[in-house]
Amino acid sequence: MSTLHFQPVKGQAREILDAILQSPEVTSCNMKTILALRLACEEIVMNVMTYAYLPHDDGWLDVHILKTDRITIRFEDGGLPFNPLEQKNPDTGMSWKERCIGGLGIFILRRKMDDVRYAYENNRNILTIEKAFT
């Protein structure tokens, strides 16, 4: 199991994402799983950058990565309560004229992971994603 601690998080999106993807738990997965995890983690890290902390707050983010018969990544931040799973799914049957530019990231995250859970506990946003091996 890897535990990564990032502080500050502002302006560190690339470094944070790279550190997660370079963990032994992730690099030992097959390409298809790595790609799905990259998509999921990019969405989550960018959400933390955008919504979790106020502009003057550098913030922190803990990432716990566990590999068993599946890979589980738990993100914990001390920012404002934000449940990304409450976003409405886009209507994928709409034409390009009607489609608006948003709501896609969490939709992709849900489709690419086997399980996504959110909780707010002890003043922390806790988002957990799970992917079984295919």
Binding site: E43, G93, R99
Partner: protein
């Protein structure tokens, strides 16, 4: 051939994501501003995130408003999968 049919090729790097979308968006808008449609060569690109998809959709909308075309070429299986999942696959012409 009318002007709307002239396409300038724009080649994407290996990823279109949160880290390079602004540059790609600016480059494509620049081509559209010059009055040319864009052939986006995606043959080197095997990763597109939601931010990247937004660039494609935004480019399509801006192009359409100008009577110009956005055409995609060389899309990889990985990119095709994300475009299928999100319904974006039907938004574009392919070469």
């Amino acid at each position: 051939m009318d002007k709307a049919q002239s396409l300038e090729t724009y080649k994407l790097d290996k990823a279109l994501d949160s880290f390079n979308y602004q540059q790609v968006q600016d480059d494509i808008m620049g081509i559209l501003e010059r009055g040319s449609g864009v052939m986006i060569d995606m043959s080197a690109c095997n990763y597109i995130s939601s931010t990247g998809l937004r660039v494609l959709l935004c480019s399509k909308k801006v192009a359409a408003a100008k009577g110009l075309k956005i055409c995609l070429s060389g899309i990889s299986d990985e990119v095709k999968d994300i475009m299928n999942v999100t319904g974006f696959i039907n938004f574009f012409d392919y070469a």
